[in-house]
Amino acid sequence: MLSRSSAFRQFLREGEASFRRNGLMTVAAVTTVTVALLTVGFAIAGGLNLSHLAATLNTQVEIVAFLRDGMRPAEVTRTQTAIAEITGVAAVQFVSRAEALARLERRLGASPAFADLAKHNPLPDSFDVRVRDARLTGAVAGALQGQPGVEDVTYAAQVVDRLVAVTRVMRLMALLLTVALSAVAVIVVTNTLRLTVIARWREIEIMELVGATRWFIRWPFLIEGMLQGLVAAVAAGTVLLLLYALAAARLRTGLPFLPMVPAIDLAAPLLIAMIGCGVALGAAGSFVAVRRFLST
């Protein structure tokens, strides 16, 4: 019997040799896998950006908790600590009545009326509370209501509700798109690899007749499929990242308020995901394609 490692080396040699031998078929298969992976890659990049956008919007929801007048600084500090410990609170910031007035003034612009307001400031002290996730807004607001010294709690309820709904739809769409495109990729890849297997059905038939085991027959095809997947993944990943970097640069100047995942942050996870997908696709495609020709 052959030792395990030398058998493996032989499979590698066979797979690699046939990769070179069936040149045209290989090019066709690799191109198809590349296009399939590109499509999936775009869906993933798009999905990641949608998620990123949703997450950014989610953390920008703010709740304001107004405090009753005449609280001592120690009381204010205690309440702030308590608020920070509420689940779902990302940050809490004390806004003094003077500061609140200054903000209002900045927003409305200086006008003679402000001089009057400044004399008897009607605004109370307050906390600006940011939540980790917009979906937690209602719960956090409820918990704030119960804190000592908190008189009133406000937040843009409708805006938050709509934001929650929109981000949920965005996430679902990104997921569905990725799943659907992956399914299409599997079908296309399996069919392409079936062609390379059909081109060698005679070899498979003879191997079976002379008593090669099914795994012995499969391995070279699996290795070939995985190599094709790897090459395709690297090609698709490179093209995708270049296009993405270009698009991101363009968008950053055009739409600066739109939060995008930077290309650098995307590179590693995307390449790893694509190589993983490519190799898995190649292996699965070859396996399915060869199985049709194995009679036992």
Partner: protein, 228 residues
């Protein structure tokens, strides 16, 4: 060596290929299976190398029930059987030597043994001098010899030949049948399906005649057909 016990084969299409066949072939026998096209000759051989499974009955090869082999052990059975076909089934881009060595290589034979053993098998069929020729450069008879060498390379106790002379001219056919007889004389059990009346009548071996999937005649030192 080979035993069929009340074997029937009905294909999924509903075609009945064999009906209630019982047959026993002993070690060292040479058996011709004859009968018109569609009488079930090829199906009979396919049951032996487990390309098909019997619908009813048992097929025993070397005492093992072929129909109940697990999928993983079929390869093991095939290594102990030589099979030869009408269309040779050679790989066109490989030389005679490579075609024979292929059978060794894909069954995990150490690389150092490939060439000596393949050459030895080619020598047994008298083609060692044509080892570097690809199938297209060989005559039909020579191609069939290469495929016989490939079938013999594992030294199988049993050799199955499905119409081995079906594509050959009379002279080449003679050569192939004489080769099969020689292989049989060295102890290998040989089962041959054929239409070749002249050869069957000259060799006077055991003849199993099939008709409509049944054994119509099983005769020692038989002729292709019963003289009328």
């Amino acid at each position: 060596m080979v035993q069929l016990q009340r074997v029937s084969k009905i294909y999924p299409s509903g075609l009945t290929a064999l009906t209630d066949i019982s047959l026993r072939i002993d070690r060292g026998e040479f058996v011709f299976v004859v009968g018109p096209t569609g009488s079930g000759k090829s199906t009979l051989l396919k049951l032996l190398y487990r390309a098909e499974l019997p619908t009813h009955g048992r097929v025993l090869v070397y005492g093992r029930d072929v129909g109940r082999l697990r999928a993983g052990t079929v390869a093991g059975l095939r290594r102990t059987l030589g099979v030869v076909f009408q269309d040779f089934k050679l790989l066109p881009q490989r030389t005679a030597l490579e075609n024979v060595a292929f059978a060794l290589r894909v069954t995990g034979t150490p690389t150092s043994e490939l060439i000596p053993r393949a050459l030895q098998a080619l020598d047994r069929v008298g083609l060692a001098h044509r080892r570097e020729a690809v199938p297209a450069e060989l005559s039909g008879g020579e191609q069939q010899r290469v495929s016989i060498a490939r079938a013999l390379v594992h030294d199988p106790p049993l050799l199955l030949a499905d119409e081995p002379t079906g594509n050959l001219d009379p002279d080449s056919s003679w050569g192939i049948m004489q080769l099969l007889s020689r292989i049989n004389l060295r102890g290998t059990t040989v089962i041959v399906t054929t239409h070749n009346k002249a050869i069957v009548d000259v060799l006077r071996q055991r003849v199993v005649q099939l008709a409509d999937g049944r054994v119509a005649r099983d005769q020692r030192q038989g002729l292709y057909a019963v003289p009328v």
